[in-house]
Amino acid sequence: MREILLVLNVKATTFLAGMLDLRIASLLKNLASLLIFGGVAVGVFLVSRGATGYLLQQAHIGLFLFHRFLSMLLYVFFITVNLGNMIVCYATLYKAEEVNFLMGLPLPHHQIFILKFIDNFFYSSSTLLLLGLALLLGYGSYFSMPWYFYLFTLFVVLLPFMLVAGIVAVIALMALIKVASHIGIRWLLAGVVALYLSAIYIYFAVSNPVTLVQEVMKHYPDVNAYFGYLDPPFVRYLPNHWVAEFLYWTVAGDPTRASAGLVTLLGSLLGLMIVAGVLSRVYYYRSWLAASDARTGRSGRPLRFQIRILEFGRPGRLSGQVDSLLRRDFWIFFREPSQWLHLSLMILLLMVFLVSMRSLEVKLAQPFLQTVSYLVVFLFNGFLIASVSLRFVFPAVSLEGSVFWCIRSAPVPLRRVYWQKFLSSFALVFLVAEVLAMASTAMLRDNPVLVAVGALCTGFMALALTSVNLGAGAYFASYREKNPIRVASSQGATLTFLGSLLYLGCVVMILVVPLNRYFEILILRGSSAPSSLVLPVVAVGVLSVLLFLGSTAVGQAALRRDY
């Protein structure tokens, strides 16, 4: 155990040295991080408090239903932490160079496992923990909870809840690597994605929120009672339910019943820790060896697909340098399972989103509700574009990696490398964004002005978000990190994502008043006034172009830095 503490101490010291760096550039960077993280945390706090108040005071859904909604939110949170840990875990526990180094030291394998698990958990879950805390503060402040409630819930409920998700992920990963050695990593990854999608689908199908609401609302206005008999039996075995039960009985003033959920959660955590400890002793080293073999292609045949026109050595229509860069990017992308699989998953999610859009009814009579529904869909599109950009555009420069020497020492203008990256990324993001915008706005409304506004603003968003992610990705580039998922979940990436959300917030603020006026004229007077939307669209365009210019300048300067 002393060895683990020693390594953790070194890691903590290195982290603190980075945080306490007193150089002006570092201070500014840390200050900017603090402002963005702080801003988002305050935003989440206000939304959490406002939503709690609205649902309980305005919508009168009652404490029970509110906590069942909270339970569903916690389920999605659990799956997010779990999946995030599993994805990053593979990079941290199996692919990291540090593990190769540690395996060569006289350290027991299970200690390396514990060390890397802690590393992985805090790396992949710290932002979610911050968001969880902000949500908790908003929730608790609505119920005027005392200060110790927050401390207790954070450390004894929320953190163990996330740890359960993380440990389940790592146990599953060890088992999956065993399976992967038989069926191959690609099929396994595809299976895992299918499994997670099924888990979400089955959960919401079985717990059926609509039926639950209907059943509870039969008792209106007596909706504050405990309708536990409405819970499907299997839900009671899920950690999100235990946390929701703890919170429900705490605010209902029954600490005895609250402790039941808590004890189950902590007991499960303890049990899982023991299982993970035992498994790591007998299986971590063997699974690490199996993963090493799989990576070097010694455990099976690599999946080969060929597109002859894109093979190296074939004549191309573009200049030699751009042609080479594009072919390289194409093959590296499609030979890396984590890249194409993630892309497939995102496309699938977008399709699910579009299909679910078709069933939405937005024939609302009030202009403000029309504005809100339009902007919610628009914002959700923006959120998806920001996620796609973060995942695929942000890591683009980092993925040049240790091989960047061959481009830096070749007679290629770095501007050209940057533009090649920008244009190929922009083409992808723009395509996704426009399909989303056109399909979602056209499905919901047969108003060509609103479809055009959506398409134009989404185009500007694609421009801004692609350039921001590429520029920030170059600025925060980590050439030593080989895993794109880890790059896309680094501190720089988180800051960029939060920055993207701020940009989306600004776009919505620019559009909200003119759109509301447009809907007022449309609904109340029955006429259309498209000219009132010209100025806000131009404003969104100007903001986006400014961001594009700034990000491009930052990104190109960053690319020229010493390598």
Partner: protein, 235 residues
């Protein structure tokens, strides 16, 4: 021809390279020696455009690496100290990629790849992906990539690390042959016997400063003479 003119490189308050000036004539095989952390790799990175000097200038065949990087880089072949390749590309694809960056004509590129596949005996594994290569395999592919466009200047950082004796012999013979045809080589290494065998001229760097430089091509040194001198100068 390579020229370094009062080149310095600072990282914060630390000076890695301090006022280094060197001129290496066409066709010379130049050995750049120094203990660990002396500034050899930093110098090489400035020479190849990977680092910008804090002051001074580096030029290749008369082209300043900072002001005129493209013509300067066109003349250079570079072999880094760590032969990193793309894991997901095969050796052949990597060579095509490099040829594309140097804007070589497709027909010429194909012939050159065949030539170096044979010269460095990489045919057995050239169609396997980089993730399957050993250090020596990577080194041979990187050497082929560096020579592919027929550079006028070859800058090599530790060229023989990881090579087996046969590959090492192949590389040494190939480099010697190239210098006879006018190739200028700037090589950094710790292996003094390689320097004794191959280099026409040497310089020794310590704590960022040149502490010894041969003014012109030296005659063969006797066995152990270079080692004794190196140890004395760098102690």
């Amino acid at each position: 021809m390579i020229e370094l003119h009062h080149v310095s490189k600072k990282f914060g308050s630390f000076t890695a390279v301090d006022d280094v000036s060197l001129t290496i004539e066409r066709g010379q095989f130049f050995g750049f020696l120094g203990p660990n952390g002396a500034g050899k790799t930093t110098t090489i990175k400035m020479l190849t455009g990977l680092f910008a000097p804090t002051s001074g200038s580096c030029s290749i065949n008369g082209f300043d690496m900072q002001r005129d990087p493209l013509p300067a880089k066109r003349s250079i072949g570079y072999v880094p100290d760590q032969p990193f390749l793309y894991d997901k590309l095969t050796g052949r694809e990597f060579l095509y990629f490099i040829g594309g960056l140097f804007q070589m004509r497709p027909q010429e590129l194909r012939l050159r790849i065949e030539e170096y596949t044979e010269a460095f005996e990489i045919g057995d594994f050239i169609d396997r992906r980089g993730e399957e290569y050993s250090q020596g395999m990577r080194q041979r592919v990187v050497l082929s990539a560096a020579m592919l466009h027929d550079p006028k200047v070859l800058v090599i950082d530790e060229p023989l690390v990881g090579l087996d004796p046969r590959s090492s012999r192949l590389v040494k013979d190939s480099l010697k042959e190239k210098t006879k045809n006018g190739l200028t080589i700037f090589m950094s290494t710790h292996l003094l016997e390689i320097v004794e065998e191959l280099c026409d001229r040497i310089a020794i760097i310590k704590q960022g400063r040149i502490i010894y430089e041969e003014s012109q091509s030296s005659s063969r040194r006797s066995d152990g003479e270079l080692e004794a001198m190196f140890l004395e100068l760098t102690k």
